[in-house]
Amino acid sequence: MTINMQKTLKQTKTKGKVVIDNISISYFNRNKNVYALRDISTTINPGEFVCLLGPSGCGKSSLLNGIAGFVDPSKGQFYLDDKKIMGPRPEMGMVFQQYSLYPWKTVKENIAFGPSINNRGDESPEKIAMNFLEMIGLSKYANHYPNELSGGMQQRVGIARALANYPDVLLMDEPFGALDSQTRIIMQENLLKLWREFKITVVFVTHDIDEAVFLADRILLMSTLPGKIKKDLKVDLPRPRDKETTDSSRFIELRQICHSLIREESLKAFDKQNQL
């Protein structure tokens, strides 16, 4: 990494506080108002790694899209560093659940897109893009199109694209959901490395318990229909984490706790989704 980047990183260290203040999100669907989320409140501190964990359909994506400013809450207010979030903001970067790279831009152009819009520093967007490509180990693919890349590679580029904008908060919606378990573990380790370097806030959505326990400082366990925070679980595993972490007794213990809580929820969710 260049000295230039280090400077930018130090400045952003104290930024990235997200306040979720009494949020409800509802969708108007088939002539009915359905609450995806109800009365959710929590504060995510600068530099914290928070995982939203819950069964399918519990409103994880809705909450993340709310923070990102893509979905307006029907009640309550989101704050980023004590300012109301009224719409998408470049201070927040999003990595989407589905592949979202622009097929018409090369890998390098995709990453350079954010910097070319915001043009913060004195480095050219191409230079920034090349730095990030090196960081994610895909320098060789700079001039390839996304369709020429594997799913895992595309998702790495998606993360680089979000980071290249130097956000204070990184929002990630099941970014590794489509990957095989081996690739997934490597991606998780790399993500933690990036997070350590950038010292930014991460809100990471997943329904994979191991993933949440491995990554998070704190897990927000969500319940279903309407979505609520059922449990705010602190993950006190030492960092840096690696393969050994997953063998420790504390890891297994935390996983067990999540398991039993989630199982309850999944059964309930399944029942509710099955009712007419």
């Binding site: 989407f96 979202s100 915001n118």
Partner: protein, 277 residues
């Protein structure tokens, strides 16, 4: 292991050959063309077809040479083709300049769609000849009414394809841009146009074909040059060799323009070469 530079240079050469020619399916297409040709030879040589209505390939070839060198009704084949292709391209390019931005606007805004839809939906199903009579009354029998008819034929297909293209853009692409802080103008040039590009190109190809279908109608009145007019005029004198030759030449120019458009498309949208494995 294949050497990397080799792959690269292969790619560089290959990308200038239209993809359809690279495929084995191209060979099958050529097979159909050959069978058609052989049938034509057999049917005419054995006297199965009346030579007055279906002359043999040789006769058509002779008329091609004759019209190319001596001309038909005062103009050589080249002038006829040149005149028609000029008309088609002028009308078609004008239709693109007006139709594509109109389609983007209509695709992105419900209100614009509601306002502008009646304009194209109404005249679209009208038969070209019927429309042409009105255009002649309004614009006279000169070049203007011809261009107007060709233009009107090209327009609706273009607009409808562009609307479709814009409406089918994955909303996540728009979110990405908004999330990065992109302005409306940036989004137009970096998301809307490239995302819709391939579908717009497909619409342009269909639309150009449609422009061809009204060429003869457009050149019936008060033309002395133009391949459509030549076909129409030759038919009056039962010169079936000229008619068939004219149709083949017209068809070939259509194929050439189509290949040209796809070529331009590959240059403007290089990523479409890598869609899928």
């Amino acid at each position: 292991m294949i050497n990397k530079d080799q792959i690269k240079s292969n790619r560089n050469i290959k990308r200038f050959i239209p993809p359809f020619m690279r495929k084995r399916t191209f060979a099958y297409s050529m097979l159909t063309v050959n069978i058609l040709f052989i049938t034509w030879v057999v049917v005419t040589e054995t006297g199965l077809a009346d030579e007055l209505f279906l002359p043999g390939p040789l006769k058509v070839w002779q008329s091609f040479i004759e019209v190319s060198t001596e001309g038909y009704q005062g103009n050589t084949l080249f002038i006829h083709v040149f005149t028609s292709v000029n008309r088609i391209l002028a009308a078609f390019i004008l239709a693109c300049i007006i139709g594509i931005p109109m389609g983007v606007l209509m695709g992105a805004s419900k209100i614009a769609r509601a306002l502008l839809n009646p304009l194209i939906e109404f005249y679209r199903p009208l038969p070209p000849l019927g429309l042409y009579t009105l255009l002649v009354m309004w614009l006279g029998i000169g070049e203007e009414s011809k261009l107007a008819l060709l233009f009107l034929a090209a327009l609706p297909g273009l607009i409808i394809a562009t609307i479709q293209a814009v409406q089918n853009i994955d909303p996540v692409y728009l979110r990405v841009a908004k999330g990065l802080g992109a302005s409306k103008k940036t989004i137009l040039f970096n998301v809307y146009l490239p995302a819709a590009g391939p579908t717009i190109l497909a619409g342009m190809r269909i639309s150009l074909g449609f422009t061809y279908t009204v060429l003869v109608a457009a050149e019936i009145v008060a033309a002395s040059a133009g391949i459509g007019w030549m076909i129409w005029d030759a038919a009056k004198f039962l010169l079936s060799d000229v008619v068939i030759m004219g149709l083949i030449v017209l068809g070939l120019t259509g194929i050439a323009l189509d290949i040209f458009m796809r070529f331009i498309g590959r240059i403007l949208m290089p990523w479409t070469r890598y869609l899928g494995p």
